[in-house]
């Protein structure tokens, strides 16, 4: 996450709770987002007639949204676990932590599909997290140049990037 963010992982008492938090956040995000997309998909894929369409969209939400939330949660939880362990082991918090944990998470979750799939999935996770981290850094820089003398913004960017970074991981890997 952003270099400015104080690491919750460094304080032993808080350690596990961030992982649980990310896991739940990712589940919620996946379930809500999956609900939205599945509602549209179910609506479009049903036979003609508003009743059929509404029922189809409800069925699609009920079957697919929790599933998507679950896979987001697995991704987010594993990511957060690796990220926290890396913060602890390396003693610092920088974008490389997230990128490496994204790649490792992708590799671990593809482990049952063989080495080739693991490499592909790891590359995908690493690239996505690098993009997210890059966007976070750009956003922070932009915000701090724009509001150079706001005392506020020193801690504002730091609270924005961290929120996206743990959870976003959830989103991407699904589309592979």
């Amino acid at each position: 996450t952003g270099a400015a963010a104080p690491s919750p992982c460094v304080h032993p008492g808080l350690d596990p709770w961030r992982i649980v938090d990310d896991c739940g956040g990712a589940f919620t995000m996946g379930a809500i987002g999956g609900g939205i997309f599945q509602a549209i998909k179910g609506f479009r894929n049903s036979p003609v007639g508003v009743n059929h369409r509404l029922r189809g969209s409800l069925t699609a939400i009920k079957t697919r949204a929790p599933q998507l939330g679950g896979s987001f949660a697995v991704w987010g939880g594993l990511f957060s676990m690796i990220d926290c362990s890396m913060v602890r082991m390396r003693g610092k918090e920088d974008p490389w932590n997230s990128i490496t944990s994204g790649a490792l998470t992708g590799a671990i979750l593809a482990a049952r599909n063989g080495p080739v799939a693991m490499v592909g999935s790891a590359a995908m996770g690493g690239i996505l997290l690098a993009l997210i981290e890059g966007a976070g850094i750009l956003l922070t820089r932009f915000a701090s140049t724009q509001f150079a003398n706001g005392p506020q913004f020193s801690d504002d960017p730091s609270q924005l990037p961290p929120a996206p970074s743990p959870s976003p991981f959830g989103d991407y890997r699904q589309y592979q």
Partner: protein, 79 residues
């Protein structure tokens, strides 16, 4: 309501602002990722030339929209 007054009497982004910001950031990330992965997959299925540009553009918009939506939700549930 664009801003709320923070504890320092300074402007702080409101919930909606943060959701918007999350969407924008997700959209940018999704566009970049879509450009990367879309190029590979479109080349693999044999698109070339003009068709390739269209295919990559479509992938970019799609993944930008998806990422943006998820990122906005991610912001929304945290504020």
């Amino acid at each position: 309501m664009p801003v709320t007054v923070g504890p320092y009497g300074q402007s702080q982004p409101s919930c909606f602002d943060r959701v918007k910001m999350g969407f924008m950031m997700g959209f940018a990330v999704g566009m970049a990722a879509g450009a990367l992965f879309g190029t590979f997959s479109c080349l693999r299925i044999g698109m070339r030339g003009r068709e390739l540009v269209g295919g990559v553009g479509k992938t970019m918009m799609q993944s930008g929209g998806t990422f943006g939506t998820f990122m906005a939700i991610g912001m929304g549930i945290r504020c």
